[in-house]
Amino acid sequence: MVKFTANEKKDTRSGFGVGLHELGKQNPNVVALCADLLGSLKMDAFKKDFPERFFQVGIAEANMMGLAAGLATGGKIPFTGTFANFSTGRVYDQIRQSIAYSEKNVKICASHAGLTLGEDGATHQILEDIGMMKMLPGMTVVVPADYEQTRVATIALASHVGPAYLRFGRPAWPIFTTGRPFTIGKADRMIEGKDVTLFACGHMVWQAIEAESILADKGISAEVINVHTIKPLDVETILASANKTGCVVTCEEHQINGGLGDSVAQCLSRFHPVPVEMIAVNDSFGESGKPLDLLKKYGLSPENIVKAAEKAISRKK
């Protein structure tokens, strides 16, 4: 049995910063744009070493998306950097028309997503972004689980042709994916189990791993799958696991509407109906607080996942 430990913690946004800097060295077509959040997005190293390929756009996110579309037209691979709220909701029409509909090879890199942004509160804690982005035709949506996976995903996106949304966050978080393979669109089965499947993305993968440990102590065998790509969804892996365990729990730092849970439920209801429980924010805005306190208050703790797993199992015929 694989055991994951949390010996080291780092923020996922730092994984993005390191990945982007590595890309700068690897690929001369990679360019970066930032809307006055250089430090928050950890883009300093890229700017320092590749100043001619870095564009400070100021607090003007709509323009940033258009610039990126234009740079992509000229053969560049632009990575835009700002908070997830300003990367999506604020500029949805710019992304829709100039990037998605126009099929531009732009990578929209979004930090500080979800409740774990913490003290800044609900104005900045976007919980609707996965839904908005996955609805756009042709948009790839990636939500990596830790620092290392964010680094690897950032690098992978440069060779993935087409518009993409990369969602990551602010707090230091356990690192546990080191050395694991990463392929866009291929979910990663972290822990094998037979009674229930926990499908999770982003920070919630670690919460699911903790929940699995509690469930194991109770004699329940849970399978943990890191669905780091929400779109295109790895239908094959999801169906195989649901077929094996017979019930599932989805876990995400997002509204219950529109996110990973929606995608998984849609897939299962069409191809293999089984009981589905969803761990997500239940149609409300967030608030200021410490990340772990917020996850607990809004029902996103490992203990909540355990309860949801037990409920899902009880619903099996």
């Binding site: 360019v31 610039l67 126009s102």
Partner: protein, 282 residues
Amino acid sequence: MPTLDLPHLQKLCTQIRRDIVRQVYNCQSGHPGGSLGCTELFVALYFHLMKRNPGFNMEGKGEDLFFLSNGHISPAWYATLARAGYFDVKELATFRQINSRLQGHPATHEHLPGVRVASGSLGQGLSVAIGAALSKKLNKDPHTVYVLMGDGEQQEGQVWEASMFAAHHKVDNLIATIDYNGQQIDGPVDQVMSLKNLKAKWESFGWTVLECNGNNLPELITTMEKAKSLLGQGKPVLNLMKTVMGYGVDFMMGSHKWHGVAPNEEEFKKAMSQLEETMGDF
């Protein structure tokens, strides 16, 4: 730049105006007013000012590029692209109809040669053009990027974000033009949302601003050539181009009413009688 052949360019203007009215009449939908007003600019760009490579390549390396931000005047652009050889003029008959590459507003999705980004939702084209201009600088490509916006479009905040950026980052391989016809859907721009002193606004944002009568072809070409001569000096250049909406068809001229309305059969015939067929209708 080719030798200036004004009579030929004037003939193109007349034919493209016929093409515009015919496209809109055929599908009983579209935007004739702004299209007719900007015809001289399209002709000047595609048949005189722009360095264009044969065929169509999305990246457009080694040639001048044009972006249309006020995408609703697509009939003028489509007619120009067809007459310039990007696709067969017969395809103009499919404008705004199902299974056509000539979408109501320009799009890349159907792979229409000549179009590099979708436009229609206003305010976005200048940003895209600046991005393309940055790309040219990175590629050490000395060619120019052109973009056309509407005057009503100046009410969109993104235009000013982009304006600020281009001046700050010295994007001096870019010529923007504003179709300053003073009309928008709901009425005269001054009444809907006044732009006040638009020239002073752009100058204060750090652009070099030229002005001209956009329906006077020689004056327009001279102004655009002057704009070109001002490139490479650390500032983006704007042509504040005064036009008359609906120019060339007397009953469409100068009124916002023809912004987005198609002529009926009688009006179509009347319009056609005012525009000489110079190169064969589609």
